[in-house]
Amino acid sequence: MLDEYGAMNLLAKHFREKNIPQLHKLNNEITRGVVNSENKNMLKIGILAYVFSQILERPRFFENVNWNKFNERIYTYIDASLDALKKKNYQLFNKILEDVKYEVLAMDKTTRRFVLNLFETASIKTAGNLYFSGYSVSKAAEMADVDKLELVRYLGSTVAHDTEEFKTLSIMERIKNAKELFK
């Protein structure tokens, strides 16, 4: 089973190799694992995997004049975070992740086109996956540290509710069941 160190190592590998599908896969794998482990550090790595996949997909990032400098700094942070995880220093690990976030957002800020920044988008999508994997909407929002209102709206834009297993009573059956409530 994947632990924080293993997950961070994979994240570093896929980012270095610019392997977008594997970064997505890592996000999915971590998300499912979190429903069982409730490990928030793992979830942060999963969200970062999604953020990195988005960075690699967008020319506005990798065509930016500061791209090489940004990359160097990210690699330095990744190496430091791996060191911290090896020593099981989770406090330091979390501080380093905050630094990574700061670097990404600084880069994002110069070319941003949407209200939500990359981390917010990644967190919402990850929360959506947590919901689909079984969490209630409030639980998914809490774990991914996103606003429930934002998550509910995001779910409406997905096919999360078009799953056969989620279907129980029909709309008409529910209305029938409720008719005695009304005058």
Partner: protein, 248 residues
């Protein structure tokens, strides 16, 4: 002896968000007039959909709309200090029902447990909720189990004892989603304001609540819209007659 249930509807934030986002809050005003009980929310739900979002640029308008519904008495807020013990009991049942590789899956949040405990403590039968996990727990936990099996590798067990306890607590519970409120509203003439576009307005509103996050599938909506929906005749209803029967 049969339990004497109240006709209150306990509302989760997920449904209120869908209704506010689609401009359908006036439906609650109309249904409040016809409801034999009240639309109840907890103070925790109020914090979620009013107190916190009112401070944000993005969500403050929805928060204002809901606060107005509270001020107008359409939504009634209950303080929930007294619910803690029952909520804890519910959390214990739900979050120990499914066990993956020896570890319980904590699928339900304290907020959802709180509204479920409000149902128990107010002797209410009806829950308005758009999110799927709590709904599946109440209506068909086996389906939730089947879904979890598709999501996880390893040994997934269902703790039947916990499930039996939970089921006995909520055996008479019925669930409504925002989409069903629209259907009920239609039958009471809520969409008459759209004139010849009445049925079209219902159709548009049902899709709108889905896109706003209501846990309903396209298939369910299409099946519903294919039906010849009955109407509750206003005059007859005021005379105390029963609404016309639903066609199968």
């Amino acid at each position: 002896m049969p339990k004497n249930y109240s006709s209150n509807i306990i509302c989760d934030s997920s449904s209120l968000i869908s209704l506010v986002d689609t401009g359908m809050i006036s439906l609650l005003y109309m249904l409040k007039e016809r409801l034999n009980g009240q639309f109840l929310i907890t103070d925790g739900i109020r914090d979620e959909i009013v107190s916190r979002p009112i401070q944000s640029k993005k969500y403050s308008f929805g928060a204002v709309v809901i606060q107005k519904a509270i001020n107008d008495g359409v939504l009634v807020v209950l303080e929930t200090e007294f619910l803690k013990k029952t909520a804890q009991e519910i959390m214990n049942m739900t979050n120990n029902t499914f066990v993956l590789n020896g570890k319980p899956l904590n699928l339900i949040h304290a907020g959802e447990a709180e509204i479920l405990s409000l149902m128990v403590e107010t002797n209410s039968r009806t829950l308005l909720i758009d999110e799927k996990t709590t709904r599946l727990f109440i209506e068909n936990p086996e389906k939730l189990y089947q879904h979890l099996l598709t999501q996880y590798r390893g040994e997934l067990k269902m703790n039947r004892t916990k499930l039996v306890d939970f089921k006995s607590m909520f055996k008479d519970t019925r669930i409504l989603r925002s989409v069903e409120l629209l259907g009920i509203g239609y039958m009471y003439g809520f969409f008459k304001q759209y004139g010849p576009l009445e049925k079209e307005a219902l159709k548009a509103a049902t899709y709108a609540v889905k896109f706003a996050g209501c846990g309903v599938s396209f298939e369910e909506i299409e099946e519903f819209l294919r039906k010849d929906l009955p109407k509750f005749d206003e005059k007859e209803s005021r005379l105390g007659l029963q609404p016309i029967e639903f066609k199968e």
